[in-house]
């Protein structure tokens, strides 16, 4: 079932369809929130989903729109969370605690996955915050440029530029030369 269809059916009360929408959207949403609030991401995303479930009847749009709508809600929840912590997004965006992902590392697979997640977040954390968030929205959540701009409340041109620069920088850092040239810090560095 496609996302747009799932959302539409969920709006008509179909619980299974809502579960489908959740499974399609949640990973990207969680990744985005991880970038914003670090290890509180699960809680914040959970709060966001409560609001999404509550306001589902208000939503208008297709699958892509649903991604944008949910990302906006998640972002608000994340910023609320950071405000409660009396920290500005800048200081906690990709802070160290982002590396302390939830301790659900009971299986080897989870450990490996967590490792990859940490590395990936750290790579993105090297970008300036506006670029990092634009990249998250574009490639992790999967929004197009205008939708990402709407989530951020910025002009599409500015977000496009930020995403472009961020992605370019990431791509450059991924070349073998970039890695050799003391490029990205990695988790394995200190160990």
């Amino acid at each position: 079932m496609r996302l747009g269809e799932a959302v539409e059916r969920a709006q008509q009360g179909d619980e299974d369809a809502f579960g489908t929408a959740y499974r399609l959207v949640h990973p990207g949403l969680l990744g985005y929130v991880r970038g914003l609030v670090g290890d509180d991401a699960e809680d914040v995303a959970s709060d966001a989903w409560l609001e999404i479930a509550r306001d589902l009847g208000r939503f208008r749009g297709d699958g892509a729109g649903f991604r944008g709508w949910t990302a906006t809600i998640a972002r608000h929840r994340a910023l609320d969370h950071l405000r409660r912590l009396k920290r500005r997004p800048r200081t906690s965006l990709f802070e160290h605690d982002v590396l302390d992902l939830p301790g659900q590392t009971d299986t080897a697979g989870a450990v490996l996955e967590s490792l990859g997640t940490r590395r990936a977040l750290e790579r993105i954390a090297e970008l300036p915050p506006d670029q990092a968030e634009a990249v998250l929205l574009r490639v992790v959540v999967g929004l197009d440029g205008p939708a990402a701009a709407r989530v951020l409340g910025k002009r599409p041109g500015a977000v496009r530029t930020a995403a472009h620069r961020g992605l370019k920088r990431l791509a450059e850092g991924m070349t073998p030369e970039g890695r050799a040239a003391g490029g990205p810090r990695t988790l394995g560095e200190g160990t």
């Binding site: 959970s46 989903w49 306001d55 009847g57 208008r60 729109g65 649903f66 939708a147 991924m174």
Partner: protein
């Protein structure tokens, strides 16, 4: 969903970056537990009836694709665009002489309504009435005879404005009327400068010194209407508010 499929690659999304994004997404974290919570919230909301598509509309909940907005907004924009284009370009068209000037009757240099005696060409209505004119007659509507230095006749002011808007085209009805009023083609620019100055609005001799661009071109009745019409309207709000009313 359309957008999901044809996402434009405005930035270099390499396979490496896709892999990075996959890593950030992970497996969706707590998995079934989070989903169970979300589903519980969904059921609660549904059973409370809040999923019914009514209630207060909030712009932030409307993520319909731009195509939808455009389709809905087209009618508004077309209507508004036509209105603006008519207003703006109408002046240009009049200046170019391709449409009848609605106020030309007022400046028709022909017989003035109350003329019972000819006025001297240099008649200055502000001054003492020239011999032959009726004293009671208000000095206002000085008929623009040749090289008349009348006050800012509203009709003439309008014509001069229209002429400015038309970039000083030297043909068409407006120009002919002004020529008649000014007493010669070459006198039109100076005449309009004076007229506009006297009218107190836009006294700048906007067209004087500017060579006419298309001396003989007979403009088509619809000069460049469409390109401007599509540009002018900026009514996203109107379009949206009009669209938000489709409560199911």
């Amino acid at each position: 969903m359309r957008r999901e499929e044809q996402e434009p690659a405005e930035a270099p999304v390499t396979p490496d970056i896709e892999a990075l994004a996959d890593a950030v997404r992970g497996r969706g974290g707590a998995g079934r537990e989070g989903e169970a919570r979300a589903l519980a919230a969904f059921r609660a909301s549904r059973d409370a009836g809040t999923h019914v598509r009514t209630g207060r509309r909030r712009r932030r909940d409307d993520w319909r694709p731009a195509a939808g907005f455009r389709r809905a907004g087209t009618r508004w924009r077309t209507a508004l665009g036509s209105l603006v284009a008519t207003t703006v370009l109408g002046g240009v068209a009049m200046a170019a002489g391709v449409v009848p000037v609605p106020f030309e009757r007022r400046i028709d240099p022909g017989p003035a309504p109350t003329v019972d005696a000819p006025r001297s060409p240099g008649d200055n209505p502000a001054a003492v009435p020239a011999p032959g004119t009726t004293p009671e007659r208000p000095p206002q509507p000085a008929p623009p005879s040749a090289s008349a230095r009348g006050p800012a006749d509203p009709g003439l002011v309008g014509l001069c404005r229209a002429r400015s808007a038309g970039n000083g085209v030297r043909n068409g009805q407006v120009f002919r009327r002004l020529t008649a009023a000014a007493g010669g083609e070459d006198a039109v620019d100076a005449f309009c400068a004076r007229t506009l100055e006297e009218s107190g609005t836009g006294g700048a001799p906007s067209t004087s010194g500017k060579p006419s661009k298309e001396p003989k071109a007979t403009k088509s009745p619809k000069p460049s209407k469409s390109p401007k019409a599509s540009k002018t309207p900026k009514t996203p709000k109107a379009a949206k508010s009009g669209k938000v009313t489709d409560a199911a």
